[in-house]
């Protein structure tokens, strides 16, 4: 990447988009690309309403450990890829926020990884926020980003009428990035997605903040019914196929279940690439 491109990226993500890590944060080992700033109540990099939940942000090491891309690693091809993907989606929606369903052609294709990092890529942009909803109720993974995994999630929201939306949206320690976990596992969960409450939830989330991009981490295509319901709720669908894992038949079945209108395309995940080993 040329120096000009690097500079542009930095400008787009805001002043180097340094991860803000409070001094003395638990387990935080500052990495070379991580800025250490003084503890404060408001961060100039953060949209003011979101500053409340972003007192404690994850360190670069924690992010790397969780498999989340970091803006300062702009030379990393994975970072570039997710930035490009983000740009394509924004262009597709003409700058408006959108609901993106990420599903995989089979289990183990890494749709959660794609969904989480796509969210992170949206959050790179200081003018945008990302909300990741874990819709894979049978095999949830978003909770792993949180320190408190037992916090209420989607299922609790469906089952508890008193629970407010705000109570299930949780910060993950990344600026402008929030998640809704799947919640506790229950049987017969598919009906929740067809409920009015789910529609209400999605409408509310989408309308409340125009800069918010909502990413739904969907179940794999083996749950075709879920995918159909969820794709109705979404604006765009990304299908994840994995290198050396997915077959043409699986991809074919998956694509048949999704409307061409909403299908953004196929993300070919986990292509081996020899890393730079220092």
């Amino acid at each position: 990447m040329s120096k000009i491109e690097k500079a542009l990226n930095r400008a787009r993500d805001g002043r180097g988009n340094l991860q803000v890590v409070p001094v003395g944060a638990a387990g935080a080992t500052p990495s070379p690309g991580t800025a250490i700033v003084a503890d404060s109540t408001a961060h100039p990099e953060t949209i003011p309403r979101m500053a409340k939940g972003e007192v404690r942000l994850l360190s670069a090491g924690d992010l790397a450990q969780r498999g989340i891309i970091q803006p300062q690693h702009s030379e990393d091809s994975a970072v570039q890829v997710f930035r490009d993907l983000r740009t394509k989606i924004i262009q597709q929606g003409h700058g408006k926020n959108a609901v993106i369903l990420v599903t995989s052609v089979s289990k183990g294709c890494g749709s959660s990884f794609i969904a989480q990092n796509l969210g992170a890529a949206f959050a790179f942009d200081m003018g945008k926020t990302a909300l990741l909803i874990d819709c894979n109720l049978r095999s949830p993974s978003v909770y792993k980003l949180l320190a408190n995994a037992a916090a209420p999630g989607l299922t609790e929201y469906f089952e508890n009428p008193d629970l407010d939306i705000e109570e299930i949206i949780r910060p993950v320690g990344i600026a402008r990035y929030r998640v809704i976990t799947a919640g506790k596992r229950r049987e017969i969960l598919e009906e929740h997605f067809t409920s009015e409450k789910m529609k209400h939830l999605m409408d509310t989330l989408r309308r409340r903040y125009q800069e918010r991009f909502i990413i739904m981490d969907g179940p794999p295509m083996s749950k075709i019914a879920d995918i159909r319901i969820l794709s109705d709720l979404a604006d765009y669908v990304l299908v994840v196929a994995r290198y050396g894992h997915s077959t043409n038949t699986q991809i074919e079945n998956c694509l048949n279940a999704i409307s061409d209108r909403k299908l953004l395309g196929v993300v070919f995940n986990d292509e081996p690439r020899i890393p730079r080993i220092r």
Partner: protein
């Protein structure tokens, strides 16, 4: 799919399956080391035999003696050497029979020897025999024996072959000679039997023509003579009759006239009753009767055709003349008749001779034809027999096919065939090629997708992005160790191969 894409996919896949690649590399190398170590050493002994048919005799006998075609030489040599007789001798000579092998074992050993023996032609006239054995000494001995037995067998076979050819041609020649002799004999007999016929063979027609002409002429003459004879006959008869009649009647008439005058005189003096007159009358009467009698006799003679010329006639010169001519004519007729008879006899003889001549000619032509054919074949056979005799003599004097050991067999010092180093190098090469080949096959046939663009092609949907593997710090650390370990394994494998090669080379082990 473009070659660049395939190459990129192959590199990606090699990295992805690095452990498998290294494992196969190590296994292949170890296998090559083991095989190379256990591979039996082979010693090859070889000898070249110059098969020389271009002796000094050949140009002299060009076209006469027939030389073996060089193209089939190695095939012929293989047939001869791998023949049962030579193989049995070689088995015995090479010491394979010391263990008393069974019939099946012997067959197996023979097959093995055949597999290890290479017979080839170098250039046009050099035959090369190569034999490989684990024992250099035996390779040396067996190769030498092969060459020796091959030369013996070839010379004997060629001599026998040319001898048989000569014997056959000799027999044929004899048969044709007999036939020719018989034909000659028949021809001779025929010629002698038709010898008379053959004299003046070409004149038969002329002579026949001549004879016919002469016969015709003689016949003509005969006819003329006969006409003449008949005429003379008639003339002779007529002359005698007329002469005789005229003479006798004349005499009678003269007497009658005389008597009439006398009577007339008497009548003048005497009466009719006078005795003189009566006498004279009587005489006249008698004479008249005499004339009549003469006439009657003449008529009678004329009727009988017989004439008895009387003296008066005979004495008639014309009559005599006619008689003479008649006699001559008669003689001529008889002579002509005799000549015609002779000519006709001659004609008969000539005709029969002509007939005999023609029948003899047909037979002669047949015999001559047979004779010529037999003679041609016989002469050809004679020529062939002489060729065969020359070939046989060349073989018996070892002039036709000579063998010379061009390159004598030597005791092989160094083993041949793939050496240990070849196995080591081959192992390293295969250790690289086999995993790559395996990965290629997997890329080709594994339904799991490894090339992103293939999805776009197969499903007509855009590949919105290809996300590379995101290495976590822990993974990277593990990868570092893993790559170091794999490199170490590869280096150790190559080093071990090199070390074992060096040890093997210096014959420490």
């Amino acid at each position: 799919m473009l070659p660049e894409q395939i190459a990129k996919a192959l590199i990606t896949e090699s990295f992805h399956s690095r452990r498998l690649v290294v494992t196969i590399f190590v296994i292949v190398n170890v296998a090559a080391l083991i095989v190379g170590w256990l591979w039996p050493k082979g010693y090859t002994a070889s000898t070249s035999i110059l098969v020389d048919e271009r002796t000094i005799i050949q140009p002299l006998m060009a076209g006469a003696a027939v030389a073996t075609d060089a193209l089939d030489r190695s095939k012929n040599a293989r047939e001869v050497i791998f023949g049962r007789r030579i193989m049995d001798l070689v088995l015995e000579y090479g010491g394979w029979l010391q263990t008393q092998p069974s019939v099946e074992e012997r067959e197996f050993i023979i097959e093995e020897i055949k597999k290890r023996t290479v017979i080839s032609t170098v250039g046009k006239n050099i035959l090369r025999i190569e034999y490989r054995d684990v024992d250099p000494e035996r390779a040396f001995r067996v190769t030498g024996k092969f060459a020796e037995l091959f030369m013996q067998e070839s010379i004997a076979a060629k001599a026998a072959e040319s001898g048989a050819a000569f014997a056959f041609i000799e027999k044929q020649t004899q048969e044709y000679q007999d036939k020719l002799t018989r034909t000659e004999q028949e021809l001779k007999e025929l010629r002698s039997s038709t010898l008379d016929v053959r004299a003046g063979e070409g004149e038969v027609t002329t002579r026949l023509n001549d004879l016919y002409k002469r016969i015709d002429a003689a016949m003509q003459e005969l006819r003329e003579a006969e006409v003449k004879g008949a005429s003379l006959e008639r003339q002779v008869s007529g002359e005698a009759e007329s002469t005789a009649a005229i003479s006798r009647e004349g005499q009678y008439r003269t007497r009658i006239a005389e008597l009439q005058s006398k009577l007339d005189t008497l009548r003048l003096s005497y009466r009719d009753t006078h005795p003189d007159v009566v006498q004279v009358k009587q005489q006249i009467q008698d004479l008249t009767e005499g004339i009549n009698a003469e006439r009657a006799r003449r008529e009678q003679l004329k009727g009988s055709g017989r004439s008895e010329p009387d003296e008066a006639v005979v004495n008639n010169p014309i009559y005599q003349q006619l008689r003479r001519e008649q006699s001559q004519t008669q003689g001529t007729i008889e002579a002509l008749q005799a000549r015609i008879a002779e000519l006709q006899r001659q004609l008969q003889t000539e005709v029969s001779r002509g007939k005999r001549m023609h029948s003899g000619d047909a037979r002669l032509a047949e015999l001559t034809r047979d004779y010529q054919i037999n003679r041609d074949i016989y002469q050809d056979l004679l020529r062939r027999r002489e060729n065969a005799r020359v070939s046989m003599n060349m073989d018996s004097d070892r002039q036709g096919l000579t063998f010379k050991i061009q390159e004598p067999v030597t005791l092989p010092q160094a083993p041949v065939g793939p050496r240990f180093l070849h196995f080591v190098l081959g192992g390293i090469l295969l250790g690289v090629v086999i995993p790559i080949g395996f990965l290629c096959l997997r890329l080709q046939f594994d339904p799991r997708i490894r090339i992103g663009s293939a999805i776009a092609v197969a499903h007509k949907v855009p590949i919105i992005t290809v996300v590379p593997h995101l290495w976590s710090p822990r993974e990277l650390k593990g990868l570092r160790w893993e790559l170091a370990l794999l490199t170490l394994v590869v280096v150790a494998t190559v080093a071990a191969s090199a070390a074992i090669s060096a040890i093997r080379f210096t014959k420490v082990l």
